[in-house]
């Protein structure tokens, strides 16, 4: 690719990304009431999307090969346990990550 072609390619990626971010705000202008169905989605979608993102993070974990997802499962249990116990976001995240690093570097 020439530099011009590279710039065009990167430009397309920027344009695509910005479209997905700005479209909802352009399609549903302020002042006009947002359709009821869209307001419903705005209310219920986040919980589902966060669920999707958790699955997305784990998408490359294989239950039938390598460490069989055991380090991931154990570390998530640590995250959930810490969070139920102290409900300190940073503590839960740091605890789970350190647990995972120790598991994949020393155990598995």
């Amino acid at each position: 690719m020439t530099v011009t072609q590279q710039i065009i390619t990167i430009g397309m990626v920027i344009l695509g990304t910005m479209l997905t971010r700005f479209i909802p705000f352009l399609v549903f202008p302020a002042g006009k009431p947002t359709p009821e169905y869209i307001r419903y989605l705005g209310k219920v979608l986040p919980a589902a999307v966060f669920g999707l993102l958790v699955v997305y993070c784990l998408k490359n974990v294989s239950l039938f090969a390598g460490s069989r997802g055991i380090p991931e499962m154990l570390s998530i249990v640590v995250v959930v346990g810490l969070h139920l116990w102290k409900r300190q976001m940073l503590l839960s995240i740091a605890g789970g990550t350190i647990c995972y690093m120790l598991l994949v570097q020393l155990v598995f």
Partner: protein, 239 residues
């Protein structure tokens, strides 16, 4: 409160929320910078791309696009597909990302997974300006990513210590955010739909292709159960 004080207090309130992202973006950004470095691009590429695209997974894909044959339409279509989840974020943020003046444009521009997650779930303390709080969350995240990507691009070949497993920080963060959202809601149908449909699609379509079917499936199921679910949420809310 003077304008300077208002900015400073919003910045101080926003920073702790972004610390987990600092760890994650530093690492992923570096990884991305190193990846570009070893793919033969100078540090200008990760530096400018992290600044202008600011969508992590897409930037990794963009490296492959740049290494392949010139095909701008395909680059455009792939971007739309990979980033389609932002449409969901936007719909959820229609109210929050409005009425903050010019900051709105930057907030929407910087609406990556992590900025959205924090700004959607954070309980912003009383007396802190919401617009500036969300602005600083976005700005800090943007800076971490830019910083990591640029450093990775410059010093890519010089790093030698065992960071294996550090990327789990992202998983841990989304698990915590999912739990926070769970504890905030009395009705968990949507959370179950999200996990269930995503898992089914992951099994059916595989790791590389499951996102789009999962999103379509989530939309479909939530649309099907709209009337009973809305009645249930309304009933619980009234108690």
């Amino acid at each position: 409160m003077s304008r300077k004080m208002k900015l400073l207090s919003a910045m101080k309130a926003a920073f702790p929320h972004t610390i987990p992202i600092f760890a994650g973006f530093w690492f992923l950004g570096m990884t991305y910078g190193i990846y570009m470095n070893v793919s033969g691009f100078s540090f200008w590429y990760p530096m400018l791309m992290s600044l202008t695209i600011f969508a992590g997974s897409m930037e990794f894909v963009a490296v492959n696009l740049l290494l392949g044959a010139f095909n701008p339409l395909q680059a455009f279509a792939m971007t739309l597909m990979i980033n389609a989840r932002h449409l969901f974020y936007g719909i959820s943020m229609l109210d929050k990302y409005r009425g903050n003046g010019l900051k709105d444009i930057y907030l929407i521009f910087g609406m990556c997974d992590e900025s959205f997650s924090i700004n959607y779930t954070a309980d912003i303390p009383e007396g802190i300006d919401k617009g500036w709080f969300m602005f600083f969350v976005t700005l800090f995240n943007h800076f971490y990513w830019f910083f990591g990507a640029t450093l990775g691009g410059i010093f890519g070949s010089l790093i030698h210590f065992n960071t294996e497993g550090l990327d789990f920080v992202m998983t841990a963060m989304f698990v915590v955010i999912f739990m926070e959202q769970w504890m905030k809601e009395k009705n968990h149908v949507s959370a179950f739909v999200g996990i269930g449909v995503s898992l089914l699609c992951l099994i059916a379509f595989g790791a590389e292709n499951f996102i789009i079917p999962a999103m379509v499936g989530i939309l479909g199921v939530l649309t099907l159960v709209k009337n009973p679910l809305q009645a249930e949420i309304g009933r619980v809310g009234e108690r």
